[in-house]
C-alpha cells in the first residue's frame, strides 16, 4: 500500500454516478477488485473505492453519491488534490478459464478494469433503472437487465459450470449468485475506517467467524460467506 496526494484530472457523470479520474503518479493500480481509500473532503474518514479504470497515467473511480462521503467525493473539482491510499485488499483471481462478469448497480464499478484485464469476457449487468444502466457503457461485451428483471434469471441459463463467475453488487444479488454458482468470486462491501487492517471496523462473517473484509477480501469465494 502506498499513500499519495493525487491531482484530480476530472469528473464526469455516468448516469446517476460520477466517474472520478486522478493522476496515477507513483501509485500501482493493483489487481482488479482491489480498492483505494480516498480522502472525502471535509469528512473525518476516507472512503473505500474500487479501481474502475486504469488507463496509462491515470486511475478512475466510479462513485455512487449516497451519503456525505460519496457526495463530497462526487463534488471534487479538477485540479484539487486528494489523499489516496492503496491498492488495498485482495482482488479477483484472474487465472481462470471462460470468465463471466456479473454486476449489480454500483457493483459495476470494478468490472471495467476487470474486463480489460481479462480481454473483455462476456458480462451481465443489472440496474435499478435505465438511467443507472448508462454505466453499462463502461463495460465491453455486456448484456444488461433492468429491474424488475434480475441478473440471476439469465445467469441460471448462461452459467451452469460452463464459465467462472466474478461478481460485485448488493448483498441480495451476491447471495443469489452464490446459490446458483458456489464457485463464484464475490466482491463484498462493509463500512471501513482505515482499509488497511488497523480498525477492525469492517468485520464480516467469513468461514463462520468475524474477520476483517479489508484484509481477507473484499473479493471472497462464494463458499466463504455464510448463507
Amino acid at each position: 500500500m502506498k499513500r499519495a496526494r493525487a491531482e484530480i484530472l476530472g469528473t464526469e457523470p455516468v448516469g446517476p454516478y460520477t466517474l472520478l479520474r486522478i493522476r496515477r503518479g507513483g501509485l500501482e493500480p493493483g489487481i482488479p477488485g482491489q480498492f483505494f481509500m480516498l480522502e472525502a473532503p471535509g469528512r473525518q474518514l476516507p472512503r473505500p473505492m474500487s479501481v474502475c479504470l486504469a488507463p496509462p497515467g491515470e486511475l478512475a473511480f466510479l462513485i455512487d453519491p449516497i451519503g456525505p462521503g460519496t457526495r463530497a467525493l462526487a463534488a471534487v473539482e479538477r485540479g484539487d488534490e486528494l489523499g489516496v491510499l492503496g491498492p488495498l485488499g485482495n482482488g479477483y483471481d484472474l487465472d481462470i478459464e471462460s470468465p463471466l462478469l456479473v454486476g449489480g448497480g454500483i457493483g459495476v464499478a470494478p468490472l471495467p478494469y476487470l474486463s480489460d484485464a481479462l480481454g473483455h469476457p462476456p458480462a451481465l449487468l443489472g440496474f435499478r433503472s435505465e438511467r443507472h444502466a448508462e454505466a453499462a457503457r463502461l463495460v465491453h461485451n455486456a448484456e444488461v437487465v433492468v429491474e424488475p428483471k434480475l441478473v440471476t434469471e439469465p445467469l441460471r441459463d448462461l452459467a451452469t459450470d460452463c464459465c467462472k463467475v466474478l461478481a460485485c453488487g448488493p448483498e441480495a444479488m451476491l447471495r443469489a449468485v452464490a446459490d446458483v454458482i458456489p464457485a463464484a468470486q464475490l466482491a463484498w462491501e462493509a463500512p471501513m475506517a482505515c482499509g488497511y487492517g488497523a480498525c477492525y471496523g469492517c468485520a464480516v462473517e467469513i468461514d463462520g467467524e468475524l474477520k476483517r473484509l479489508c484484509v481477507e477480501g473484499p473479493v471472497l469465494a462464494a463458499e466463504a460467506v455464510a448463507a
Binding site: 500500500m1 499513500r3 481509500m37 480522502e39 469528512r43 473525518q44 474518514l45 476516507p46 451519503g67 456525505p68 462521503g69 489523499g83 491510499l85 462493509a190 463500512p191 471501513m192 475506517a193 482505515c194 488497511y196 487492517g197 488497523a198 480498525c199 477492525y200 471496523g201 469492517c202 468485520a203 464480516v204 467467524e209 468475524l210 484484509v215
Partner: protein
C-alpha cells in the same frame, strides 16, 4: 516525548511500516479469552469524529502469546500490551502471563472500554491486583466519562500504577441518514477524534495536577499543535488513534509539525514543554507578547 499509537488503532502485523514509524507500538486490548467483538455495523463517522463499537475483538491471551507476540517482537519497536478484563483477577492473570515476556516493555490496563457491558471493578482494585502480578511498568487507561477523573487517577497512583493513559473514548450516538436508526448495531459507540480533544486535554490537565504521574495523552490529536497542547497540559508522551485511519503517515508529519510549533513557543525540546500550561503566570506572561485589555 514518545509518539505511540492508541490501542486498537493500529495492527502492527497488518501494517509493520506504520508501526515502525512510531516510538512505541501499543497492541489492541487483549482479554483472557478470544473475542469476536460486537456484530457489524461497528464503526460510524460523525461530523467531528467517529464512533466505534468494536467490542475488544482480540485472539485472547493464549493465541496472543503463542502467535502474535513473537512476531511483534521482530518489529524492532518497543511493545506495550494493552490488557482488559471484567474482574481484578483477570487483570492480575493477564499481567502475570506477560511478566516474563521480554518482548513486552510495558502493560496498559484498559479499565475504560465503553463497548463491553460488564463494567470492570474499581480502578484501585484492578491496579493493585495488576501491580502485585508484574514488575513491568504499568500504565492505567482511564475514561473521561466521570465527574472526577482526577479521583480515578489518584486511586490508580495509590494502587501502584507507573503512569496514566488518557483518555479512552466516551459513549456517543449516530443515527442513519435515512432510517434515523442507530448506525451501529449496538446502538451507542465510543466517540473518538477531534470532538474528543478538549475533553481529553482537560483530563490530562487535571490528572497531571492531581498525580504528577507520567501521562500518555490522546484524544483527537491530528497535528503537531495538538500534540504540543497535550504535552503542555501534562502529557509526557502522546498517542495517535483515529488520525491513523485517514493518514497512516501521521506520526512522521506530526513530529515534523511539532518541531515547528516548539520553535514558536519557544522551547527547545518537547520534554521542556511538559506541563507548561501549569507554569507560573509570570513565565506565561513572559511568553505572551501583547497585553489584552481585560479590565480585571
Amino acid at each position: 516525548m514518545r509518539l505511540l499509537n492508541a490501542s486498537g488503532c493500529l495492527d502492527a502485523l497488518a501494517a509493520p511500516d506504520v508501526a515502525r514509524s512510531l516510538d512505541v507500538f501499543v497492541t489492541k486490548t487483549v482479554t483472557p479469552l478470544p473475542r469476536e467483538g460486537n456484530a457489524p455495523v461497528r464503526i460510524a463517522e460523525v461530523d467531528h469524529g467517529m464512533l466505534n463499537s468494536i467490542g475488544l475483538a482480540n485472539p485472547g491471551i493464549d493465541n496472543f502469546l503463542s502467535h502474535s507476540l513473537p512476531r511483534l517482537g521482530e518489529l524492532g519497536v518497543p511493545i506495550w500490551v494493552s490488557v482488559g478484563g471484567f474482574a481484578a483477577s483477570d487483570y492480575a492473570d493477564l499481567c502475570d502471563r506477560l511478566d516474563d515476556c521480554q518482548e513486552v516493555a510495558a502493560i496498559e490496563l484498559n479499565v475504560s472500554c465503553p463497548n463491553v457491558d460488564d463494567v470492570p471493578a474499581s480502578v484501585g482494585g484492578i491496579v493493585g491486583a495488576a501491580r502485585a502480578a508484574t514488575r513491568k511498568p504499568i500504565y492505567t487507561k482511564l475514561s473521561p466519562a466521570t465527574a472526577d477523573v482526577a479521583a480515578a487517577a489518584r486511586a490508580a497512583r495509590d494502587a501502584g500504577t507507573d503512569g496514566l493513559s488518557l483518555v479512552n473514548t466516551i459513549l456517543g450516538l449516530a443515527l442513519d441518514e435515512r432510517t434515523l436508526r442507530p448506525t451501529l448495531s449496538r446502538g451507542r459507540g465510543g466517540l473518538s477524534g477531534p470532538a474528543l480533544k478538549p475533553i481529553a486535554l482537560a483530563a490530562v490537565y487535571a490528572c497531571y495536577e492531581a498525580t504528577g504521574l507520567p501521562i500518555v495523552g490522546m484524544g483527537g490529536i491530528t497535528s503537531g499543535r495538538d500534540a504540543l497542547e497535550f504535552v503542555a497540559a501534562g502529557a509526557s508522551d502522546v498517542a495517535l488513534g483515529t488520525i491513523l485511519f485517514s493518514d497512516p503517515g501521521a506520526s512522521t508529519r506530526i513530529s515534523r509539525e511539532l518541531q515547528a510549533e516548539l520553535a514558536a513557543v519557544p522551547v527547545d525540546s518537547p520534554d521542556n514543554a511538559i506541563g507548561l500550561a501549569h507554569a507560573a503566570p509570570t513565565f506565561a506572561e513572559g511568553v505572551a507578547r501583547r497585553d489584552t485589555s481585560l479590565p480585571v
